[in-house]
């Protein structure tokens, strides 16, 4: 369920690193807690986002929730799929429904995050 090569936050986001590019999303646990997702608000290209700070929000029928970035960096790409099909975030949060790709400011930041095993223990699954 939770990919081994991703790193996880206590706020239920994940980051997957390839070279100096980080792909960021929310976890399966997060989408399940939120329920039916209707809006995803994401930053514009070129915006600098900061680790542990909010950079967007996800809104479900029930509630709106901030998304916190696991890492710092500049936004290179935003997942346009989510503008028209926000429900994809309920279906494939670890894959097709990633949120943004960033150019990592300091790749070492992921060392402070949880492994898949740690995260699963954290959420009690």
């Amino acid at each position: 369920m939770y990919p081994q090569n991703y790193s996880y936050t206590k706020e239920h986001e994940w980051v997957s690193v390839a070279g100096d590019i980080g792909t960021i999303g929310i976890t399966h646990h997060a989408q399940k807690e939120l329920g039916d997702i209707v809006y995803v608000d994401l930053p514009k290209l070129g915006v600098a986002i900061t680790a542990h700070s909010t950079f967007g929000s996800v809104e479900s029928v029930k509630a709106v929730s901030d998304i916190y970035s696991p890492v710092s960096g500049e936004v290179l790409e935003v997942n346009s799929l989510l503008a028209t099909q926000p429900e994809k975030l309920n279906e494939d949060p670890h894959g097709e429904a990633w949120l943004v790709k960033v150019k990592l400011a300091s790749p070492d930041e992921t060392k402070g995050l949880m492994t898949a095993a740690d995260y699963q223990q954290y959420i009690g699954e």
Binding site: E33, G35, D36, V38, Y39, S57, E59, V61, K62, V64
Partner: protein
Amino acid sequence: MSQDSAPLKQTALNAIHRAQGAKMVDFGGWDMPVQYSSLVEEHHAVRRAVGLFDVSHMGEIDIRGPQALHLVERISSNWAQKLKIGQIHYSGLLYETGGFVDDILVHKVAEDHFFICVNAGNQEKDFAHIQAHNTFDATVELSSNRYTQIAVQGPRALETLQKLTKTPLAEIKYYWFVDGEVTGTPARIARTGYTGEDGFEIYFTPSESARIWRALMVAGEEFGVKPAGLGARNTLRLEAKMALYGHEIDASISPLEADLAWMVKLDKPDFVGRAALASQKDRLTRRLVGFQMTGRGIGRDGYEVQIGGAKAGWVTSGSPSPTLSATGTPKNIGLCYLPMQNTAVGTEFEILVRNQPVSAVVVPTPFYKRSKG
């Protein structure tokens, strides 16, 4: 977790909800299912087929005695005298100020017996309020513990429930009830609900809860029955523009402001709150209206409403509408208070959504009305 918080109260169906995978939340001190699978799927199940709600957290108050009618007339804004035996109406339990103690369903069981269904979180307060006005030859009993209440709601509700009872359900008119049986267990069967659909609310002894719930799940299987949580209950009642205590109504809001004038009988000689409402009637300053978002965003409960950049009111309930969004573009709806002069359908205003003004427009209500027949 704080040490001094009281343990959450549980209904007799708590274990069943957990076994069915419900996500549980603290709802006014009760451990209740907010959703089982998907709020939207549960919502659609009720609109298109049938859904089951455990609403045993609701309170029940029995008023009996030779002057039971007099006490009900005194504490209730609707005209209980006009109820026939077996009939139900919606009413307001009001303070002298005209604000709501609670909103209630009054059932006339006999000439000397009324059964009142009240909100879970208000039941002790309601009971004390009614007692305080009981200067009549009537007894008031808080009887909530004697009842499990299950709401069977949706266009297939009748067929589902009919499999479990010999009581002829089609003969029960909307807002009427009979004391019959469900699977042989004595049950009060009322054709009422909080979803805008046809359906029944059944009251029976808690010891039979699990068995009857399971029997309803089996009876509704061929129609695609789903257990439905408080999340779907909220979106369903919002589409039908039914008030929720603590949102559309509370101690500071009158039924006239809440667009519930129809259940206030000012021609009734006397009831608690009458004088305040009679004087408020022709000088209302604000009223509840329905809105639809025209900008991108959802005006949610408590958000500020602005007209011309100045605060003009607040959102009482707001959500995407699963029914209106099912075909075509997503629609976000809600209810809010606006100054009287801004309540006309078509009036444009803004709602502060996370500090950004987003456009909305006053629309006719209810947002959803079932087609009958």
